[in-house]
C-alpha cells in the first residue's frame, strides 16, 4: 500500500499483509489524489480500515491528514482514486448520505449547534435512525411522537456513556470545552456508526482527559472501526492497531505502531532526524 514514488525498501510494505481477503476491509480509499489549484494536497494516498480496528493517521502539519478525512466523508471530491465501503465502490460520496451508510465523523473543534440544547444536539446525530416518514413527522402524527421519544432515549444513552447526561438541558456555550468535546463525541456515537472518524479528538484536552479518551476509543473498537487523526503521538501510538503516516500528501508508511515507530522514512519525515524515540515527539 506504500506509494510507488517511494521505491526504497522501508518496511511499510508489510502493511499490505493486514487486509486479508477473507474478512476484507470495512472502508478503503485507494490511490486518492486531491489538487487545490496547483497545490497537490494528496498524491495517490491509500487507507484501508479493517473492521473493529483503530486506525491512526499521522503526519506533520500540512501533510494532508484533514484532506484525506474530508475525502472520506465527501466534503472534498478527489480528482482521482476510489472509495470502497464494505467491499463495494462508492460512486459519489455525499456528506448527507454518510450517516445512513454507517459513518460518523467528529470535527476539529466541536461543531455543536449553539442554539440547540445538548440533548437536541445529540438527537440530530441520531436522526437518521428515525422511522417515521417526512410528512408524518411534519404533522406530528402519533407514530412520529413515539419516534421522537425513542430518539431522545438514544441521545440520553449516548450522553450517559460519555458521562455528560447531567448537562442534557444546557446549551453548549455554557459548558467547559472538554465537556463540549464529550457531547460532540456522544452525538457521533448516537448514530451508532460502523466507522467513526475522529478529527483531532484530543486537541484542547488535558493529560487525564486524553487518557480517558484513549480508554474510550479502545472500548468503542468492540463495536465499530475508528479512524483517528491527532497530533498527540502518545495517544495515537497507544490506542491504534495500525497507523498510516502521511508526508506531503503521500503515504510514507503503513503498519503497526511498532513498525511505524522504527521506520526510517517516518523518522525522517515526521519525527525529525535525531528523534529516535517516540517519547520525544510529544508536542506539549
Amino acid at each position: 500500500m506504500a506509494s510507488p514514488e517511494q521505491p526504497d525498501t522501508h518496511r511499510s510494505n508489510t502493511g499490505t499483509a493486514g487486509a486479508s481477503p477473507g474478512s476484507g476491509p470495512l472502508f478503503e480509499a485507494e490511490g486518492v489524489s486531491v489538487r487545490f489549484g496547483g497545490l497537490v494536497a494528496l498524491d495517490d494516498a491509500s487507507l484501508s480500515v479493517a473492521p473493529h480496528r483503530v486506525h491512526g493517521v499521522i503526519g506533520p502539519n500540512g501533510a494532508g491528514k484533514t484532506t484525506l478525512f474530508n475525502v472520506c466523508c465527501g466534503f472534498v471530491r478527489p480528482s482521482s482514486g476510489r472509495l470502497t465501503w464494505r467491499g463495494s465502490a462508492i460512486p459519489e460520496l455525499r456528506p448527507h448520505r454518510l450517516a445512513g451508510m454507517g459513518i460518523a465523523r467528529t470535527l476539529q473543534g466541536v461543531g455543536l449547534f449553539p442554539g440547540l440544547s445538548v440533548v437536541d444536539n445529540v438527537m440530530v446525530g441520531a436522526d437518521h435512525r428515525r422511522r417515521a416518514g417526512f410528512l408524518s413527522a411534519l404533522f406530528a402524527l402519533p407514530r412520529s411522537d413515539t419516534d421522537e421519544r425513542r430518539l431522545r432515549a438514544i441521545a440520553m444513552a449516548a450522553l450517559r456513556e460519555l458521562d455528560a447526561d447531567s448537562y442534557a438541558d444546557r446549551f453548549p456555550a455554557s459548558l467547559p470545552y472538554p465537556v463540549q468535546k464529550r457531547v460532540a463525541m456522544a452525538r457521533a456515537l448516537a448514530a451508532e456508526p460502523e466507522l467513526l472518524l475522529l478529527d483531532e479528538p484530543a486537541s484542547g484536552l488535558g493529560y487525564d482527559e486524553i487518557t480517558e479518551l484513549g480508554a474510550l476509543v479502545r472500548t468503542l473498537a468492540t463495536r465499530m472501526s475508528v479512524v483517528v487523526v491527532d497530533h498527540h503521538m502518545d495517544l495515537v501510538m497507544s490506542i491504534c492497531d495500525r497507523i498510516t503516516v502521511l508526508d506531503f500528501g503521500r503515504v510514507v508508511a503503513t503498519g503497526t505502531p511498532e513498525e511505524v515507530r522504527d521506520d526510517p522514512a517516518v523518522i525522517d519525515a515526521y519525527l525529525g532526524e535525531d528523534a529516535r524515540s517516540p517519547e520525544r515527539s510529544r508536542d506539549d
Partner: protein, 322 residues
C-alpha cells in the same frame, strides 16, 4: 402617549354641572379613541407580526432577506380572489392561497434561490428584489392593475360594547386568531418535532448537519415554503374587506421589515413582539398625529433601532464584554 385631558377628581367636584358633563363626555370620547387606537394597533400588529415572522424564518435558515415576500403574498391573494370571484367560497380561496404560498415558496427556493445561495450576499438581495418586481408585473398582466375589492368572511362592523361602537370587528378577531394559531403551530413544529429539530440544526450549521445525515437542501426548501405560507396569510388578512391591486402589500413590506429588524432578525419571538409594537406605534401615530406620518414614523423607528440597538431587541448574541 395617552391624551393629556384627564382631569383630577378633586378639581371636578368644584365645577358646575354642565361643565362636568362636558368633561365626562370628552373623557369618554378620549377613552374611546384610545381604545380604538389600541385595538386597531393590535389587529394591524398581528398581521405585521405574521409578515415579520415570514422574513425571520427565511433569514434564520438561509441568511437571505426575502424582499419578494410581499409580492409572493400578493400573488397568492390574487389566486384566492380569482377563485372567489368564480363562485367558490371564501374558505376555498383561503386554503388554496395558503397552499399556493407553500408551493410558491418551495419553487422559488429550488429554482431561483438555490443558485445564489452561498454566493455573494448582494446577489441574493438583487435576486429577491428582481422577484419582487417581476411578480408584481406578472400579477398586473394576469389579474389587471386596477383596484378590486376583496371579500371578508366575517363582518366588518365594530362590536358594540355598552352602547359604544369599538374599532374591533369580527374580521379583526379572525385575523388575530389566525395569526396566533399559525404562530403556535410553528412553535410546536420547531420545538417538538423531529423535522423542526432538523430545520433548526441546518439553520445553525449546514455543514455539520449534512454530516449528521440531515438533508439540508430539503430543510431549506421546507423553510421557504413555510415562510411563504405565513407571508400568504398576511397577504390574505391585509386584503380582507379591503382593496387589492398589485402593489397593495408595499406598505406592509416596509412595516413588516421594520418589525423584523426591531425584534432582531434572528428571533421569531422578536418578530411577533416587533410586529405588535409596530402596529401599536403606527396606530397611535395615525390616530393622534395624522395618518400621513405613518410611513415616516416607521422609517424613524428603523433608523433609531439601527442606531441604538442594531441587533434588535431580542437578539441572543449579546455584545461581548472584553
Amino acid at each position: 402617549m395617552v391624551a393629556p385631558t384627564a382631569v383630577p377628581r378633586g378639581a371636578a367636584t368644584t365645577m358646575s354641572e354642565p361643565l362636568i358633563e362636558g368633561i365626562a363626555g370628552r373623557n369618554r370620547r378620549t377613552m374611546q379613541q384610545f381604545l380604538n387606537v389600541a385595538l386597531n394597533g393590535l389587529s394591524q400588529g398581528a398581521i405585521y407580526a405574521a409578515f415579520a415572522l415570514a422574513l425571520v424564518l427565511i433569514w434564520r435558515s438561509t441568511r437571505i432577506i426575502n424582499f419578494a415576500q410581499g409580492s409572493m403574498g400578493m400573488f397568492t391573494t390574487y389566486i384566492a380572489l380569482a377563485l372567489i370571484e368564480s363562485g367558490r367560497s371564501y374558505w376555498v380561496g383561503f386554503a388554496v392561497a395558503l397552499l399556493a404560498g407553500l408551493l410558491l415558496g418551495a419553487l422559488v427556493e429550488r429554482l431561483v434561490i438555490r443558485r445564489v445561495e452561498g454566493g455573494p450576499e448582494l446577489n441574493a438581495v438583487i435576486v429577491t428584489l428582481g422577484l419582487f418586481v417581476a411578480l408584481q408585473a406578472l400579477a398586473a398582466i394576469l389579474f389587471g392593475a386596477t383596484y378590486r375589492s376583496f371579500p371578508a368572511p366575517f363582518g366588518l362592523h365594530g362590536f358594540d360594547v355598552g352602547g359604544v361602537n369599538i374599532a374591533l370587528t369580527p374580521f379583526n378577531l379572525f385575523a388575530i386568531g389566525a395569526v396566533v394559531v399559525v404562530m403556535l403551530a410553528l412553535v410546536a413544529l420547531f420545538r417538538f418535532t423531529d423535522v423542526g429539530l432538523r430545520m433548526r440544526a441546518s439553520a445553525f450549521n449546514q455543514e455539520v448537519s449534512r454530516l449528521l445525515g440531515v438533508p439540508v437542501g430539503r430543510m431549506l426548501t421546507l423553510g421557504w415554503a413555510l415562510a411563504a405560507m405565513v407571508g400568504s396569510l398576511s397577504g390574505l388578512l391585509i386584503a380582507g374587506g379591503s382593496l387589492v391591486f398589485p402593489a397593495y402589500m408595499d406598505a406592509v413590506i416596509v412595516y413588516g421589515f421594520v418589525a423584523a429588524v426591531l425584534g432582531g432578525l434572528d428571533s421569531p419571538v422578536g418578530a411577533v413582539v416587533g410586529g405588535l409594537v409596530m402596529g401599536m406605534t403606527l396606530s397611535v401615530v395615525s390616530g393622534y398625529l395624522g395618518s400621513e406620518l405613518v410611513a415616516l414614523a416607521a422609517l424613524a423607528i428603523l433608523v433609531t433601532v439601527l442606531l441604538v440597538r442594531p441587533r434588535g431587541l431580542f437578539s441572543r448574541t449579546a455584545v461581548r464584554q472584553v
